[in-house]
Amino acid sequence: MSLKQCEGSRAVAEAVALCRPEVICAYPISPQTHIVEALGEMVKSGELQPCEFINVESEFAAMSVAIGASAAGARAYTATASQGLLFMVEAVYNAAGLGLPIVMTVANRAIGAPINIWNDHSDSMSQRDCGWIQLFAETNQEALDLHIQAFRLGEELSLPVMVCMDGFILTHAYERVDMPTQAQVDAYLPPFVPRQVLDPDEPVSIGAMVGPEAFTEVRYLAHAKQMQALELIPQHAAEFRKIFARDSGGLVRPYRCEDAETIVVALGSVLGTIKDVVDEMRDEGHKIGVLGVVSFRPFPLAAVRDALQAARRVVVLEKSLAVGIGGIVSTDVRMALSGLPLPTCTVIAGLGGRAITKASLHNLLHQAQRDELEQLTFLDLDGKLIERHLQREKQMRRSGPLAENILRDVGVVAARIA
């Protein structure tokens, strides 16, 4: 065990390096930059060898380079966030369809417009159905650990894996992490043996065109592989525990759920804040617990149902919005609970980096305990601002750009406009 005080990004970079990647290719975007800067430095200084670090002209190229490298049998890694992830989307789907076990860190960040660099989960959630495995880290330690598990899982299944960690909140936070040794990682992660590889000695054609006669079967197999991941993820977590002597990963992570009447479901770093609130409310006598979802894709329907079914109500707190319906994770949770008489509320929180405070959570969860929570709540929504904007819209045919008007109301640009 070697404890190390470092930035989350640095912890992830070192974990990735311990996994012996052979090709790293990324395009800078906040808050992902520190990860690839650190890896670039390790490669260029010769500390990480043999490994190629490719500087590309876009995220689309970054994912494409990873695709080529992975298909040629190299362990490939990239990282991105937000607009970068959207810019590479076509290739993201392609990596999954081709069954290439690329590992990618998503340093979660909001998607514009309006442009916003702060954390929420809109970016990776937009790739919900792309065929990648998606694991969400709660802490920097878990982010580090999940990367090691991601390579193992992806390569065993021939599927790409996204490790999602909250931008800034985790990536830029200095924390103590337990950095594994190379020997530990080598014991856990065998060398990459591709299922199918571009090799002049045994030529194969990869990426052929498939028509209606087999496309459904191919897609079904993609689904079936994710179902296999549901089995593998807990096994891998158990093995991880043996070698690294700590708990990390798994499908879900329940906290004080046993006798809980209200259970909050959430993903990522906000779980820490929620756990504090849960502890405080437990002290006040409220029976309340929290369920962290580590594996968002595949979504562990059975594990979620098991963890929640004894509760009286469920609150899903999520950092992204499915515009026009509400929550993204909530839909999956409701599916897990289908048939159970368990009221489930959606809380949209922390969009674009808005702080999720303990005070707000206390308030929210007390409301939940009293069964006063609405089906869909936007945490800390400024009603007055909304009202003013709606008024303005009524008066004018064209109200102008929404974000700018709201900023004016907030007073940020008042001086300039006057």
């Binding site: 043999p50 380079v65 490298a69 049998g73 190299a74 571009l198 045994e202 030529p203 065109m209 028509g211």
Partner: protein
């Protein structure tokens, strides 16, 4: 690699197949041991210039690389006609990913080979003019700029053939496509647009850029072989007539490829580090009209009232190329 007996070879031209030559002077295709990298039996149209160009280019590359070759392929006719699942015409390791990312995918393959110490394996990327000049342009420019060890081959049939003959930025002026309709006073693609990718490639100062046509396959093979021998980014732009998209007779593919060069419309040359190092001189100069008349995409130029001015503008383009690249020896013509 499984050995496929050679089924036919081309005779009657200056180019290949002449087995009367000494073995070292023979072309790749005249060799009984040639690889047939792109097998016959694929679904290209009859007379497809792209299929012909790809077969010669890849066989030459296989020969030059000692059969250590991996190819990335963009979406387009070549990909679709050669790999309808579960069949494949490729005898080489071959990967199709997307329409716009072939150059970057090839960069990834080359990086993997470097990381694994496989210096012997050579990497090719290939795509149509659409995949090259339009959607894949960014990735291609990035590959050039980094000087990645990849040979990129563009098969230029001057439009998006795979999606039904729409204009690309390599479509010549006045040519009709599904998106440059023959309406208004100046039908067909407009003048003054388009990208000259060989010249843009040269502007990246990469080690090797060449143009070629399927009319001179020996020259094509020579250029591919040379490119494979060079480390760094290489670009070969091959002119490949498309009978279907151009409204030309299948048996005119080679003729069209010869006429485009002999008219000066498509200069055939080599450039190293941004400087032209050799040009293929015009043997017997022809007016552009000879070339244009064989194709229905230009039929509107030859109606009841011939579009004299338009033809003259196209001729001026050819003349400009001839002057710019010195395609005719001083005093040899006029």
């Amino acid at each position: 690699m499984p050995f496929q007996p050679v089924k036919f070879y081309q005779t009657g031209t200056f180019t290949v197949g002449n087995r009367l030559l000494a073995p070292e002077e023979r072309s790749v295709q005249a060799n009984m041991q040639r690889t047939n990298s792109l097998n016959s039996g694929h679904r290209a149209c009859q007379g497809c210039g792209e299929a012909l160009g790809a077969r010669y280019a890849i066989d030459a590359a296989m020969n030059a690389s000692n059969r250590r070759l991996i190819a990335a392929n963009a979406t387009g006719c070549l990909e679709v006609f050669s790999t309808p699942y579960p069949e494949t015409s490729w005898q080489i390791p071959w990967l199709h990913s997307l329409f716009g990312n072939t150059a970057a995918v090839a960069t990834g393959i080359a990086a993997a080979m470097r990381a694994k110490g496989r210096r012997d394996v050579r990497v090719i990327a290939q795509g149509g003019d659409g995949g090259t000049t339009d959607i894949g342009f960014g990735c291609l420019s990035g590959m050039f700029e980094r000087n990645d060890d990849v040979l990129y081959i563009c098969y230029d049939n001057e439009a998006y053939m795979n999606t039904g003959v729409q204009r690309s930025s390599a479509t010549p002026p006045a040519a009709r496509t599904a998106t440059t309709m023959p309406v208004g006073p100046e039908p067909g693609n407009v003048f003054g647009q388009g990208k000259n990718l060989p010249q843009i490639a040269m502007a990246h100062n990469i080690p090797y850029v060449a143009t070629a046509t399927v009319a001179d396959l020996h020259d094509l093979e020579y250029k591919v072989k040379k490119a494979i021998g060079i480390r760094g980014a290489k670009y070969i732009h091959i002119y490949v007539p498309c009978p279907l998209g151009w409204g030309a007779a299948s048996h005119d593919t080679i003729k069209l490829a010869r006429l485009v060069k002999e008219s000066g419309l498509f200069p055939v040359y080599e450039a190293e580090h941004g400087v032209v190092t050799s040009v293929s001189r015009i043997r017997k100069r022809v007016p552009v009209e000879d070339y244009l008349r064989l194709q229905r995409r230009f039929a509107h130029l030859f109606g009841k009232v011939p579009a004299v001015a338009t033809i003259a503008r196209i001729q001026a383009m050819a003349d400009h190329n001839i002057r710019k690249f010195g395609l005719i020896e001083e005093g040899a013509d006029r």
